[in-house]
Amino acid sequence: MSTLDAVRDFLALEARLLDSGRYRAWADLYTEDCLYWVPIDPAQTDPYAAPSHVLDDKQLILARAERLEVPRHLSPEPAARTIHAVSNVVFEDLGDLAADYRVGSTLVCVEYRRRDYGEADQRTFAAQVSHGLRLEGASFRIAFKRVDLVNADAPFNAIAAPF
């Protein structure tokens, strides 16, 4: 198994955990010092130079995961179901990222929430994704994840499930 295959399987695992609603297990993939970033401006490099859709440290990732595992009746919001289709997985230049590998991938994510708006209950998101992975035994952990949504400067309605 090449490292690229191993990386592909790991990204497929992350997608599977999200798509089967195992958000706590998904949060465990992240290192303590991780950064999960969904920027607005694709050219932005400093996460604090401007507002972003998501700028989570490990604590916020855990809070998100916990919130999604809270029984439904306690939150006004129906559980979202997602399908993450990951493709075009390639190694990228590591640059100054504190990780063993930097990996680019293309994401098409289809999300459904039962909100009684007919076809509009299903939304399609697409993004260029960049993972900073650290080797951990035979697998990896995520030290950095950046999701550049194709429509990052558009207004977004409520989104609960992470990409």
Partner: protein, 445 residues
């Protein structure tokens, strides 16, 4: 009600009886008729009688700082251009070419020697005068001086760099309209060590499928936080257990702050003002780490002197709602524009401001607040947007026409016409908005 897409619903009974004499009857002292949120004919009238007559916040001077720089903004559903001419003067122009009517500027901002229409190349000066038309002879007499100049907004005024537009001549002047609420703008600007404030060019936006007034009726509501955001309070509580109170990141603290018990808010103040404005006392304390705090305090004392610097840092105000266009947080340098798109569709655009020269942590803290309070991905915002849409669905149909806004009807801390003070748990801010709505909407002038 599952209008698959937020298409304009059919006017409820526009045909049945005249909307005009209805309007007054739709707002009572402590109830409002559901049609104010669901009737597209009323939405259309709001665009001319409310957004067409009130002072609407459109942006900050730093968004068009260089000569020839411009940015677009919305005054209700009317798109306008704010442009700075070569002499540095700002102009407010209707974003519509006077030839066949296309939007002139479709980018959020730009810069150039003149504004030109991509269709037939008509070009206009920064003041909106028609400069050149291809083959002017072809127009002969019909190009009379000024007839095809870009329409100008009736009034464009700035308060400490923050720009406001009024589409009508006969409106109260800006300072009267702002009234006491100008002190929140002061609260923001006075925190700038060099008195200079810059808007971040990156704008964070969320949208929802419900009426624009629901945002205004939520952001000074202190009762909902503990219930609507219960899931994120529970979740962040678990993280607090794991990491310990003192190691929590700012965004976690904000989520936990929603869990404060109601007594805290009963003792906080809500101020309501003429024209529908309001604010509530602060409840999210923002402390900077020691090193940043001390250097920052020193900077403010250098600028204001110790007394005024201390007064500036003592202001602890939560969100100020400037009806009907924007929400303001001085301490976190965040301003949000509420953009009505359709009767059942609204966008909210979040701008964070950098206080030039302040320690990096000040801006970083403002960015974190802006993210947590404006992103559609933020658990707190996600809860509120769901609830707005359930309100739009619940009020779209049915026999229950009257929606109560009675909480704290007779609770007052202070009662004088310019500025009434209530417990922060009151719905006085909603009643205040609806009275302003009614006076604008029923004035046919």
């Amino acid at each position: 009600m599952n209008a698959p897409f937020p298409s304009a619903a059919v006017p409820e009974n526009a045909a049945v009886h005249d909307l005009e004499e209805d309007l007054g009857a739709l707002v009572r002292e402590d109830h409002v008729h559901r049609r104010v949120y669901t009737d597209p004919a009323i939405f259309r009238l709001e665009m001319t009688r409310l957004f067409g007559r009130a002072w609407i916040y459109v942006g900050h001077e730093s968004q068009a700082s260089a000569p020839g720089a411009w940015f677009t903004a919305e005054v209700g559903t009317q798109s306008v251009i704010i442009v700075r001419d070569e002499e540095g003067r700002l102009h407010g122009l209707y974003n519509r070419c006077t030839h066949r009517g296309p939007r002139l500027c479709s980018q959020p901002s730009g810069q150039g020697p003149r504004l030109s229409c991509p269709y037939h190349g008509w070009s206009f000066s920064h003041a909106g005068e028609l400069l050149s038309t291809p083959l002017p002879a072809g127009y002969a007499e019909s190009l009379r001086r000024g007839q095809y100049d870009l329409a100008r907004v009736a009034q464009l005024q700035s308060y400490r760099g923050f720009l406001f537009v009024n589409l009508s001549r006969d409106a109260p002047d800006l300072l009267t309209y702002l009234g006491h609420m100008r002190t929140t703008i002061d609260d923001l600007v006075d925190r700038a060590p060099e008195g200079v404030v810059e808007a971040s060019p990156v704008v964070l936006k969320h949208s929802y499928r419900a009426n624009w007034k629901l945002t205004f009726e939520n952001l000074n509501d202190t009762i909902h936080a503990g219930f609507a955001h219960h899931a994120s309070i529970l979740a962040s509580g678990k993280v607090r257990e794991a990491y310990g109170e003192e190691n929590l990141s700012p965004s976690l603290r904000m989520m936990l702050a929603n869990g404060k018990n109601l007594r805290f808010f009963q003792e906080s103040e809500m101020v309501t003002e003429p024209f529908g404005h309001s604010y509530i006392g602060g409840h999210i304390g923002a402390k900077y780490s020691a090193p940043s705090m001390s250097s920052y305090v020193a900077q403010l004392e250098a600028l204001h002197g110790p007394e005024k610097a201390e007064a500036v840092l003592r202001v602890d105000r939560h969100l100020m709602l400037l009806y009907p266009s924007s929400t303001w947080h001085g301490r976190y340098q965040t301003v949000r524009i509420v953009r009505p798109v359709a009767v059942d569709r609204t966008e909210v655009w979040g701008y964070v401001f950098k206080l030039k020269g302040a320690p990096p942590e000040v801006f970083r803290n403002a960015v974190e607040y802006c993210n947590g309070s404006t992103s559609g991905f933020s658990p707190v915002i996600a809860d509120d947007l769901e609830l707005y849409e359930r309100i739009q669905q619940g009020n779209a149909f049915g026999e229950a026409d009257w929606i109560p806004m009675a909480r704290g009807l007779h609770e007052r801390f202070r009662d004088d016409p310019a500025e009434t003070r209530h417990p922060a748990t009151s719905e006085a801010f909603i009643r205040n908005q609806m009275q302003a709505w009614k006076s604008f909407m029923t004035d046919p002038a």
